[in-house]
């Protein structure tokens, strides 16, 4: 048996049993962060905080929400919004956070793409990040079903129909997912389960994996510099803090991170109190009606780009293009054939690729919101083709890149 001594303090008592000093050293004080990074590297922490906001507001919503097709709509729009003290606060925090989290995820992803933070040992960070993106998408979709309004119902109808696989006609699969011929009670209760238990569990596990994947390669930096973390850490610990290229994660770097988080929270609560309506679709304030489709069905803004890749094509090619768009970002570390992990502005053709991709996704998002008619259809079609073409050329243009 291990040897225990009479503790001299609470700290010492815990330390003998849980090795808290070692844990703190490994996870915080001697987890090294490069000095040459900017506010974009705080986005990961902003995401973690936003996830926390979703969790807390969700717990309070859960205490009054009723997953029943007859009562769900009123439990949200009447009970929570009007009867429960501060119920509106939890709902608006939850809705705004669910929307803003995607804005931050996209910024976080494009930061990674710009600085090449998905290769040279950082592949698992990227892949676990993409798994988080998929899990958040599923979480957002399942949550959108719960108020059982018109948009909930019809988004549920359209998205589950995707699983019929076009002319494969896997209607049995669709009915299996729904537990009914159309979205109904079985559908609502199972998506409720997914939203409040299974997917959040998966997200927690994936955040753990994402952080673990960061531990060995460490975060990248804005100059694409290959830092010898052991040597720099030694320098720092020897007292040459100014000469070392790294600082401690906590409390030194955390202080900077939390500074950005504080600014973010001002912006966030400004939205919650004064502009929450952008996160609440007016159509969803009509109760679900299986015999009436809303005039325009469109997803929340963060799914518009991939929706627009589906829309301009006939069913089968549309589904293939859509499936392509859903998975292709996973392959980024392997489709980028260049040996350089440096900022895009130093990478020649890749710099152009990056900006065209960013603008193309914004165009797709805008077109996805507009009705599919006339010039919008045409622009949408070309933007969708551009998206696919960009991924096809990526291995070739990165292969041509000279080693820096």
């Amino acid at each position: 048996m291990a040897h225990f001594e009479k503790a001299t303090s609470v700290h010492d008592w815990l330390n003998q049993r849980l090795a808290i000093d070692t844990v703190r050293r490994v996870m915080a004080t001697e987890y090294w962060i490069p000095k040459n990074i900017n506010f974009l590297w705080a986005m990961g922490m902003v995401l973690a905080v936003t996830f926390g906001l979703l969790l807390v507001s969700g717990i309070f919503l859960l205490m009054y929400y009723q997953p029943n097709v007859a009562t769900a709509f009123d439990s949200v729009n009447y009970t929570i919004m009007r009867e429960v003290e501060f119920g509106w606060l939890w709902r608006h925090v939850h809705g705004v956070a669910a929307s803003v989290v995607f804005l931050i995820i996209y910024i976080h992803m494009f930061t990674g793409i710009y600085y090449g933070s998905y290769k040279k040992g950082r592949e698992m960070i990227w892949i676990s990040g993409m798994l988080l993106f998929v899990a958040f998408s599923a979480e957002a979709f399942s949550g959108y079903m719960l108020p059982w309004g018109q948009m909930s119902y019809w988004a549920g109808m359209v998205i589950t129909n995707l699983f019929a696989g076009g002319s494969l006609h896997a209607d049995g699969l669709v009915e299996w997912i729904r537990g009914d011929y159309v979205p109904a009670q079985a559908f609502l209760t199972r998506f409720f389960m997914l939203h409040v238990l299974l997917i959040p569990l998966a997200i927690l596990g994936l955040i753990g994996l994402h952080f673990a994947a960061l531990r060995i390669p460490h975060v990248n930096n804005q100059d694409g510099e290959e830092i010898d973390f052991d040597a720099e850490a030694k320098k720092y610990l020897a007292g040459d803090k100014a000469g070392s290229k790294v600082i401690r994660f906590a409390n030194d770097f955390m202080a900077k991170d939390m500074m950005v988080v504080a600014f973010y929270l001002f912006f966030f609560f400004y939205l919650v109190f004064f502009h929450y309506d952008f996160a609440m679709d007016p159509v969803n304030f009509d109760p679900a009606d299986g015999l009436k489709t809303p005039a325009h069905i469109y997803p929340e803004w963060y799914f518009l780009w991939s929706y627009e890749i589906l829309r301009p094509f006939p069913t089968d090619p549309g589904l293939i293009a859509f499936a392509f768009a859903q998975v292709i970002f996973f392959l980024l570390p392997f489709l980028d054939r260049s040996p350089n992990a440096v900022p895009a502005n130093r990478r020649g053709l890749f710099k152009i690729w990056f900006w065209v991709m960013l603008v193309d996704m914004i165009v797709l998002t805008a077109m996805g919101k507009l009705p599919p008619e006339g010039i919008f259809s045409t622009i949408g079609l070309y933007a969708a083709i551009t998206f696919i073409a960009l991924w096809v050329v990526l291995p070739f243009i990165t292969k041509l890149e000279r080693k820096l």
Binding site: M157, W176, G179, L291, H296, I297, R311, G318
Partner: protein, 178 residues
Amino acid sequence: MKNSSRRGFMGMAFGAVAGVGAVASLYAMKRSWDPLPSVKAAGFTTLDMSAYKENELVTEKWRGKPIFVLKQSKEMLEKAKKNPKDLERLIKIGDDHFMVAVGLCTHLGCIPGYNPDEESFLCACHGGMYDSTALVTKAPPPRGLDIPPFKIDGNKLVLGEAGPEYKKMLETGVTLKV
């Protein structure tokens, strides 16, 4: 040596038991997600076909899905006769012809809207169009609206039961099974 091979055997035995258990529980989980018998049983709707008016779309309900019923006028029938693909979609009851179809777009399941002046359907979701027999005229929908299983019973129509006229439609590929 002897020890390690015994451990190897125990590992394999455990693996086999766990494997069988995993497959069995996956099967149970799959079946738990299947539609309930009560959902499957509530599947019949009877329509009185003498009540409909020409060129006036009525939406009925069967298995939670909207069902379009459109009684064809003389002109619509004349138009349909020019295209065999249109004509074979219609259900004849007495001297009247009806278009009866599941009112969910075959693209991704929105409900198309009917315009009686143009005698056509437009799906607002992605711009698909259908004519008055619900045959597709503009993509993305891949085919006309699906026809639900039906049985003609005098001037009544029973949805959910497959009569000879419906079976023929299935065989000739006029509609898919829904």
